[in-house]
């Protein structure tokens, strides 16, 4: 197989998945570690001392999100995430840098139950009654709108189309997975 691939001018990645992951991890770490060293420096002279921990939390969170957005260029959600992070920086002062992102995040998380079993049980319990196509579609629509809130930029004009939303979801999920792996490994090494 390798011989087949190597013939010719083009070089085929033999393990495209690993290469993609490596590229993501490289970019992510590059950005994040650099940013974290900057946070570590005692430059937060303007902020309150008692809230320093909270500050660092927010800044770290901001950098983590920024690292994700920068490591996964080319997706609508990464673009939206970058935009949202920069907007937050501009709007809020240094103290509340990533606050609105988190608030937005948590808010929508609490709106809908974590496991959607109550909703689905209702459907399963009365298959005949609520099994109409309209009801099912309504459920789906509900889920899709919720997904839009979860993914950055889901409510924007880029992802109005359902298909695009689903593709972006796929890429977002893989990048989130990679991010979690990278962060976890980072912490293991420390």
């Amino acid at each position: 197989m390798e011989g087949y691939m190597k013939e010719g001018r083009r070089v085929y990645p033999t393990e495209p998945r690993k290469i993609m992951q490596a590229r993501f991890a490289t970019k992510y770490l590059n950005y994040l570690l650099h940013a974290l060293t900057n946070i570590g420096k005692p430059e937060l002279s303007s902020t309150l001392d008692c809230c320093v921990n909270k500050e660092i939390d927010k800044m770290v969170r901001y950098e983590v999100d920024m690292a994700l957005a920068l490591s996964a260029e080319g997706f609508a959600w990464s673009h939206a995430l970058k935009h949202r992070l920069r907007l937050n920086v501009n709007n809020n002062n240094h103290a509340g840098k990533s606050q609105s992102y988190l608030a937005h995040h948590d808010d929508h998380r609490t709106k809908m139950p974590v496991n959607h079993e109550p909703a689905t049980k209702k459907l399963k319990g009365n298959p005949k009654r609520s099994g109409t196509e309209a009801a099912v579609e309504e459920e789906e629509e509900e889920r899709l709108t919720y997904l839009r809130k979860l993914i950055p930029g889901g409510s924007g004009e880029m992802m109005v189309d359902d298909e695009i939303l689903l593709s972006e979801l796929g890429s977002y999920v893989t990048c989130l997975e990679l991010q979690v792996n990278v962060l976890r490994s980072m912490l293991q090494l420390t």
């Binding site: 083009r10 495209p16 570690l33 988190l102 999920v173 792996n181 490994s185 912490l187």
Partner: protein
């Protein structure tokens, strides 16, 4: 066969198109995940398909044939997305392809090519799904580039040529299990014997087949095409999200996706808080091992500065081990939220104890950031 493939590069795509495509190809790399698995099977496919394709060479446009041949190559992880542009959409409709007596339809031929490749490769058709998902994204790209007509003609020519070859391979394949994985709508349609095929020649090349007794006006066809695309994407997502193999409803799938995304986001938040905690308790994160970790990746071989880094970048056995651990871990999907948090808390307690020896190697922040600037930028 290979020299013909190479000659494809001199097809009339101007350089800019290819460059744009390849730039965006970088963003789409993640979609090639499953290609690795199917590589070994693909060689067999290529070998077996060649004799069949050769019979078609004499009858068609040169470009049409080339693209056909190139098709299986797609699964080899090729960066060359020209192929995708030519075949923006291939729907998973197989109901009527079983009947070879039918008038050859361009739609069926296209679908068959993509599907037979997957049939021969593995039981599941994730590669097809991913490819087709790429197709639809590249569809957008293509419309932006504006090379529509050309690829449409190619598709037509190739489709006619393909029809003969596809039949043999489709018969007797694991058609039933392929069908089972298709969307419910499609499997419903596939039960019909005869078909009245119609084709929607839209600029974005969505080929839809209308079956007997179904409306063939453009609205319902467009609607059906859209639904098929969405179901294809749902299948791709099903492969991404762990534990979704048994869930069959779209609603249930969306539920699972929502839960999974939420759990991932929670994990990220938890981990970032832990990093912040570490950051405040220790002066620096011990980051020396990261450059070495990065250097281990084949993709990072382009950073030759690694070799010239100062002596404090030497790996000790512990670091090497953690490098391997990270390499392995990146390849696996993360655990569920509860597992993840449990393991993270365990590792954090052990991590704190490990901080002591590491602090001895800590350098001043300035030196570290200088190193990073040198190494990475």
């Amino acid at each position: 066969m290979l020299h013909r493939l190479e000659s494809l590069e001199s097809c009339n795509y101007n350089g800019m198109d290819v460059a744009v495509l390849e730039k965006q190809a970088a963003g789409l790399k993640w979609q090639q995940q499953n290609y690795v698995v199917q590589n070994s099977n693909l060689v067999d496919l290529c070998a077996s398909s060649v004799p069949q394709f050769q019979g078609l060479f004499g009858s068609n446009l040169g470009r049409g044939q080339m693209i056909e041949l190139k098709r299986p190559e797609v699964f080899l992880g090729s960066d060359d997305f020209q192929e995708f542009v030519n075949f923006p959409v291939a729907g998973p409709e197989f109901g009527d392809s079983e009947k070879l007596d039918l008038v050859p339809h361009e739609a069926a031929a296209d679908y068959c090519i993509s599907r037979t490749s997957s049939c021969q490769m593995t039981a599941h058709n994730t590669s097809v799904m991913k490819e087709e998902r790429e197709d639809t994204i590249l569809e957008k790209m293509e419309s932006a580039i504006g090379s529509g007509k050309e690829s449409f003609n190619k598709r037509k020519a190739e489709a006619v040529a393909d029809h003969k070859s596809k039949g043999k391979r489709i018969k007797g394949e694991g058609e039933s299990e392929v069908k089972a994985k298709c969307s419910t709508e499609i499997s419903r349609d596939s039960s019909k014997e005869n078909s009245k095929a119609s084709e929607v020649q839209k600029p974005d090349y969505i080929l839809v087949r209308a079956h007997r007794g179904q409306a063939t006006d453009s609205h319902s066809l467009a609607e059906r095409a859209r639904r098929e695309k969405i179901s294809k994407k749902m299948k791709c997502l099903q492969d991404l999200v762990p534990g979704c193999n048994k869930i069959t409803g779209k609603t249930g799938m969306l539920d699972e996706i929502i839960n999974y995304v939420q759990s991932l986001q929670r994990q990220v938040e938890f981990l970032s808080m832990k990093i912040a905690a570490l950051n405040s308790s220790v002066e620096n994160l011990p980051m020396k091992e990261f450059p070495a970790y990065v250097a281990n990746f084949p993709a990072a071989a382009k950073l030759p500065e690694m070799a010239g880094l100062p002596s404090y970048f030497q790996l000790n056995p512990l670091q090497k081990e953690s490098v391997n651990c990270m390499l392995n871990e990146s390849m696996l999907p993360p655990q569920t939220a509860t597992e993840g948090i449990a393991s993270a808390s365990v590792s954090s307690s052990s991590g704190i104890t490990q901080l002591q020896p590491f602090s001895a190697w800590n350098m001043d922040p300035q030196g570290l950031s200088n190193m990073y600037n040198m190494g990475f930028y």
